[in-house]
């Protein structure tokens, strides 16, 4: 894979090219702009093009009660995500999506990463995806960071190495089922050492919703899912497994410091929705081995509960086995006050295996959240999370209380 060296200058050039492109071709078929979304979509025959982006700004107060190690408490504000991207299609079959990850305040400020960055060929009810993607990831990773119920995803997703990798994927599905398979290498955001072979990953996911029906009163849903992934380090850097106490920045205190060489992960998903009430639970177990033949097994799960105070259901997508954005029934400005949701989470991960490492241990996090979506595409999230971090050694436990307020918008 090629090292990603896009600069912000290149990104600016892309944006300019996009607007110039719309101006130069005036012959038939003509360019028209569709305004059914928040952003104008350029249409030219069967072709479509639009800009997209997201911005997430967090205010975080961390209060750690630490028995050993450096103090971690503090009050910070930071940009959690800033994406700018494009999405479109050349005709019904050939589609693309590229989100560039800008990283203000994130160190090397001249380098731009990618999030989704793929070409997709859609043929009937199946498609093939080539590029950086996560189509086989577990439920919570398949939900956009804009729409996940808590500010940070669960320990399961963050510690078991989910996220995007580059490669090829196959998707098919129907009204209430989804199958995806992927063969991937490393992420396009990883630097490559030529003369050595990068990591490989094979993965698949199957979801099925035996009950899925929507009316204006809400959605009734039972979602079931399973997934599996097999990874091999090859000559790439080793896999690591670390967990944050439901914060977006700062110390990963439970850190087994295992240099994983191969691992296999199995997971199961359950989601239910009954009008304004919903619950999601995921479990996964990871079985790995270091290059030296040391075996380890980790497992993790979480249970989320939601209640939409204003009545909306989460927006399920049967053919993707995931949830999309919640649009308020009565947006602010139209006589309503938008969408309000309260949520609660129990999140557990066991990274204590094998015995011996001082920083191995378990983390249990409890979180409550309040979300406010005044209008579609604008969201405020207030989370309080309490995490108990128990290292295997005696007398080195830690607790963290973290309050985060997120302001986000997307287009």
């Amino acid at each position: 894979m090629k090292k990603n060296m896009l600069t912000k200058a290149a990104l600016a050039a892309l944006a300019t090219a996009a607007s110039a492109g719309a101006a130069h071709a005036q012959s038939a078929p003509s360019h028209t702009t569709s305004w059914t979304g928040t952003v104008g979509e350029d249409r030219y025959g069967d072709a479509r093009f639009k800009m997209r982006g997201r911005f997430q700004y967090d205010i975080s107060d961390q209060d750690w009660d630490i028995e050993s190690g450096a103090a971690q408490s503090g009050f910070n504000t930071y940009v959690r995500r800033a994406f700018l991207g494009v999405q479109g299609r050349f005709n019904e079959n050939w589609r693309y999506k590229v989100d560039f990850v800008l990283n203000p305040g994130g160190g090397n400020t001249d380098e731009v990463g990618v999030d989704d960055a793929f070409l997709e060929y859609v043929g009937g009810d199946w498609s093939i995806v080539i590029g950086e993607h996560n189509i086989t990831s577990p439920l919570e990773d398949r939900i956009s960071s804009l729409d996940v119920p808590f500010i940070e995803r669960s320990a399961l997703i963050n510690s078991f190495g989910y996220g995007r990798l580059a490669g090829i994927g196959f998707i098919t599905g129907g009204a209430n089922w989804h199958v995806s398979l992927a063969a991937q290498g490393d992420s396009l955001n990883d630097s490559d050492t030529f003369g050595s072979t990068e990591q490989t990953a094979l993965s698949g996911r199957f979801t099925w919703a035996p009950i899925f029906e929507t009316t204006p009163e809400g959605t009734r849903l039972v979602h079931l899912g399973i997934h599996a992934r097999q990874r091999d380090q090859q000559e790439d850097s080793a896999f690591d497994y670390r967990v944050r106490p439901q914060n977006g920045r700062g110390e990963r205190w439970i850190n087994p410091a295992i240099a994983g060489s191969e691992d296999t992960t199995y997971g199961a998903e359950l989601a239910v929705q009954f009008g304004p009430f919903g619950a999601t639970a995921e479990y996964a177990v990871l079985d790995g081995e270091t290059a030296g033949g040391l075996g380890y097994e980790y497992d993790a799960y979480y249970v989320d509960l939601y209640w939409s105070l204003t009545g909306e259901s989460r927006n399920y997508r049967g053919n993707q086995g995931s949830f999309g954005a919640i649009a308020p029934r009565n947006p602010m400005g139209g006589g309503g006050m938008g969408h309000f949701m309260v949520s609660a989470r129990y999140d557990f991960i066991d990274l204590s295996d094998p015995a011996g490492g001082a920083n191995r241990g378990e983390q249990t996090a409890y979180a409550v959240g309040l979300d406010w979506v005044p209008v579609d595409h604008v969201r405020f999230k207030l989370n309080y999370a309490h995490s108990d971090m128990d290292r295997v050694g005696a007398g080195v436990d830690n607790e963290a209380d973290i309050v985060t307020l997120r302001t986000q918008f997307d287009f």
């Binding site: 009204a175 204006p216 399920y316 997508r317 409550v368 309080y384």
Partner: protein, 331 residues
Amino acid sequence: MNILKTAAAAIAALALGAGSALAQQPFTIQIDGSSTVFPISEAVAEAFQQQTQGRVRVAVGESGSSAGMRRFCRGEIHIADSSRPIRGSEMDACRAAGIGFVEIPVAFDGLSVVVHPSNPMTSISVAQLRQIWAPGSNVNNFRAVGGPDLQMQLFGPGSASGTFEYFTEAVNGTARSSRTDYTPSEDDNVLVQGVANNPGGMAYFGLAYYEENRSRLKALAIDGGSGPVLPSRETVENGTYQPLSRPIFIYVNAAALRRPQVQQFVQYYINNAARFSAQVGYIPLPANAYQTYLQRAQRRQQGTAFGGRALIGASISEVLARPLVLEEVQR
């Protein structure tokens, strides 16, 4: 830790506040879509609300067939009024959102082409209509289509309208392909006004609006190849007013039909569709058709009889004979 306590208290307070703000309101059946179907739905809704003495409310919008379908397949409304069959892309959108639909044809409509009463023209052929309405057409005088030397002023429905879709497909051969230099409106009354106030006016819309405004407008007889035929109940019913007669529909959210209020309303709609459609100027279906559709609603039978495509120039008996399918028919 004060900030934490404050935050937790704020979450709890807001949860309670918002929860109690959700006062119970009477159940409201939400309908939106075609302005052609609107007069029937509105008449049914009014009568139904009177009958149920306000225990059930019915809100009827008229944002056009396409806009109504878009809302329907997002789960925002219980019933979509449509003056054309559901499209394949809309079936996909509904499917992805977990929305099943029950298709109920409620009446037949003759699409009328109207001019000002002072205009001496009495009929027009489909070919002449195409000359006028084809994309890029520059016909601006009635002389070009065998009429008087009179400057034309064209009015028509907006592009979100099922009437627009049906007319463009029936006349120009391709749905949604039309000249664009005319005055568009989703409100049929605006089109009526436009023609009634302009000697050179010409417009097309549902038969009901012509029936309602007979004194101010003149309908042209349409020659589809076998001589000019005026739009009327008889000519639509016996299938001679072609190609501008069409079935009009309501699409009902299948899961919502489990709600007694919605089931009751839809049954009331079907049982009274003949009366109300005739009252507002459309052509009722035969009684046995309504019987079939009543069963369809009671059994919540999903699917469309049209395979995601438009159906041009079908008679009532042809529409009734078609079986229901759930998947889009590939072109």
